[in-house]
Symmetry: C2
Subunit: 536 residues, 2 copies
Amino acid sequence: MPVPAADAALAGGIEGPRALRPLLSTVLDALTTGAEDRAGPLPAGGPDAVARTVRATCAPLLPDDGDGAHAALATLVRTLAAGAADPADPHCAAHLHCPPLAVAAAADLAASALNPSMDSWDQAPAASALEALATRELAALVFPHAPRRARTPDDTYAPADGPDALLTTGGTESNQLAVLLAREAARTARHTTGERYAGGARPAAAARARAGRVAGGAGAAPVATLAPLIGAPRGPVDEPPPAPAPEAPALRIVCGANAHHSIHRAAWLLGLPAPVTVPTPGGVLDPAAVDAALTRLHGPVLLTATAGTTDSGALDPLPALADLAARHGARFHVDAAYGGALLFSDAHRALLAGLDRAHTVTLDLHKLGWQPVAAGLLAVPGTADLAPLDHRADYLNADDDTEAGLPDLLGRSLRTTRRPDILKAAVTLKALGRRGIGDLVDRTLAAAATLADLVEDHPHLELHSRPTLTTVLFRPTGVDDATVAAIRRTLLADGHAVLGRAATPTGLWLKATLLNPHADAGDLAHLLKLVEGHIP
Amino acid sequence: MPVPAADAALAGGIEGPRALRPLLSTVLDALTTGAEDRAGPLPAGGPDAVARTVRATCAPLLPDDGDGAHAALATLVRTLAAGAADPADPHCAAHLHCPPLAVAAAADLAASALNPSMDSWDQAPAASALEALATRELAALVFPHAPRRARTPDDTYAPADGPDALLTTGGTESNQLAVLLAREAARTARHTTGERYAGGARPAAAARARAGRVAGGAGAAPVATLAPLIGAPRGPVDEPPPAPAPEAPALRIVCGANAHHSIHRAAWLLGLPAPVTVPTPGGVLDPAAVDAALTRLHGPVLLTATAGTTDSGALDPLPALADLAARHGARFHVDAAYGGALLFSDAHRALLAGLDRAHTVTLDLHKLGWQPVAAGLLAVPGTADLAPLDHRADYLNADDDTEAGLPDLLGRSLRTTRRPDILKAAVTLKALGRRGIGDLVDRTLAAAATLADLVEDHPHLELHSRPTLTTVLFRPTGVDDATVAAIRRTLLADGHAVLGRAATPTGLWLKATLLNPHADAGDLAHLLKLVEGHIP
């Protein structure tokens, strides 16, 4: 059946915006109506009720004949909004799940409409230049002391070196890449020097020189033997390179019990032994315990620390851990998916001292950064550190094209086709400036302090500890874990509040992860009132 | 510096649409102006010129003080559009880089504004229900004969079984997941039965029973020992499970030289030996050569085939390969990222016979499917096949929450935070229907046939072969590889056309990958005229 022309209109070209305008109007109306239907942070009734509604309004999703563009948009977007847990509501505060800025969501539309793909220049000429500029400005915020080569226009896409960052789907992929880079650096070190590692955590001053050695800077050759598995410059691949030597000692990861689960999942994914997990009864890594763990291990080691834990927003002691990594010749990764945004704040940046001594740093602008998903980053002190990701596919980066000046972008991700997630982030940074983002960070930290004050002043609630970032753990005084868990589920089922949970050595706590910079004291007091209503 | 209220407005809630409307208007104006600036498929001047323009108009991207939302949107979106390789232009036809439908791009705005995250129900109540419905309808298209359990409302999020699919960032991640599932199935088979595999390629009829065995259906236990590495139901992780036994024979992948590079990259990523690559001088796998390769190998094997190769859009002989996999006890994966869309077409579906005998199938709706990136899928005949991805993190899927009825969604991806990429696809499917999408598929295949006719009729051009899907390989008669490559680069540098390249045993060819369903014979004739102008 021929599709009506209006329904088959494309989003790009000169005609695209004309086709988009009425459709976007339908989307905005449906978002408004859906939010009114919901009238709260999430729909009431729990999973079964939501599933029934979605099925009743939306199925079948693949009918033989379509409903038309406006009808489908109106139905599905309204259903989505009515059934959302909307982080723009101050009572939706369970997770590191941020309410996006309108400017970021609007910018993201341009990415959808033009659909650049970041795996080759001829699919994304300006988008790839924009990504290169923005990632290097962000990376310079993380590694302010790493030397930067003077830029010339022609090294925009493929810089010689200096702080750099890859776009990722989030903290999980960033952590996975950090572990992968450590795995490959360990292989390189063994292949070239037989050393455990060429260097430990990066001293702030001579950062680049050491990082260069660690990541295979001894020469291009060892990296080349590890990287692309289809090395033939053209045509069929008859001779796959040899498998990694199975007898080589595998990289061991040392992390805290407070580390994000993605560190463990990355080890599994990458075929590495499970991480050595150091207990963190106080919520953060204890340097003495880390020292003991590092002393027991032989062979290449990656020490990972967390700047902003998922459970409590705590910061591991980065300077002491960087010292230990250096002393033990371990590589050092910091997962700053949550806390990294303090870099934007003049008031709070000092909490991240030591971050710039890491080999790799996870950032995530879809947390404190107010971006729609996805907006993860992995920052490194130098572009050369990313060499293990080099990869070749004749149709995307043939040698003769690269020699003729077409940028080779395939090593900038493990994905091939890739959305320009940098656009929304770059527009936001340009719109608000570093100080503007810093202001939103400061406001959100202030809201968390206010919530902690309210809990401390409350006769029937107890506070776990003063918040470091924007996570506040609290619970009714004197209740057991099952009651805490039930209160959370009741608030969810009633559609009144979305709170998280955190298991600690002192039992289960309710978790408010504040990411809404506009939440005020009244909103927060009301949140506590909702909890209070369910104290048995 | 406090951010002006309008610049810090959120996209969600009841107020969000009001904040978005003027910003979207700025974006649409900038998209129009940028497209007019460009006046062609891509900007002229090549990489250096584009980089200079982007730097001049956009840097710095992280100023201390911001420019405001409208100014930043106007500047960056116009620059992006002016510097785009726009697949909505019929002369932008290098890659599997599709022009998105306006309805899909409009729907994607709702995902950006509400920002649901698919890793837990309390971040995405309706979005996760919608994903569950849509993925199962799509998977049923791939595996029409796999038994489906009657659905009740309460199994929406966590179905008992039946055809299922995971959303991915694209074909690359889908292929990676397919290899990962095969790796884990191989471990399970060894741990439980000592067999090479519990079964070969799935016979169409008794599909589920066998797939269940392969993926660990012998019981929950073997899967549990492989999966989640942080198994403690709560609190710190003191006892990581043992590392995978290094002495066990690793999974070997057998693929064609025509396979996508992501198969090779997945092997590297997952710590597996490099794939055994069977030459494909004819562009597709030869069953006799595959038989010989499978005969030589011992231990667990994954045979991968391609339905729609990147270089020429060719289809490997799926029925013969499925037979071989079954005979040799190998697992069978089909990368149908490109060709899978034939499932929508009544006219062309028969070309995919044998697809439903695979254990895993890669699909990708950001190719023939006209979605903005990302819209990848990995389809399996049964939900149980996905069990190796089960994963636990107390804050997202604690046991008591799952027992109380909160859906466990963490095993639906290797990502944690995850955008609801299903929304745009579901809206498109609902708007156009299966026959509507099929109509666009048919039109695009017809355009490729027309282009092939035009080449065949042209006195100075030669055709590589008649197209199977929408890829047409051609070149000026009698020129060498360097000339072919130079013609492509000249068209790029002039901003006149974006054509791809394909290296084959008969040398280098220009590649037109047609994905624009509105390209007409005049557009295609003009594309050839552009090439003709550069014949030396």
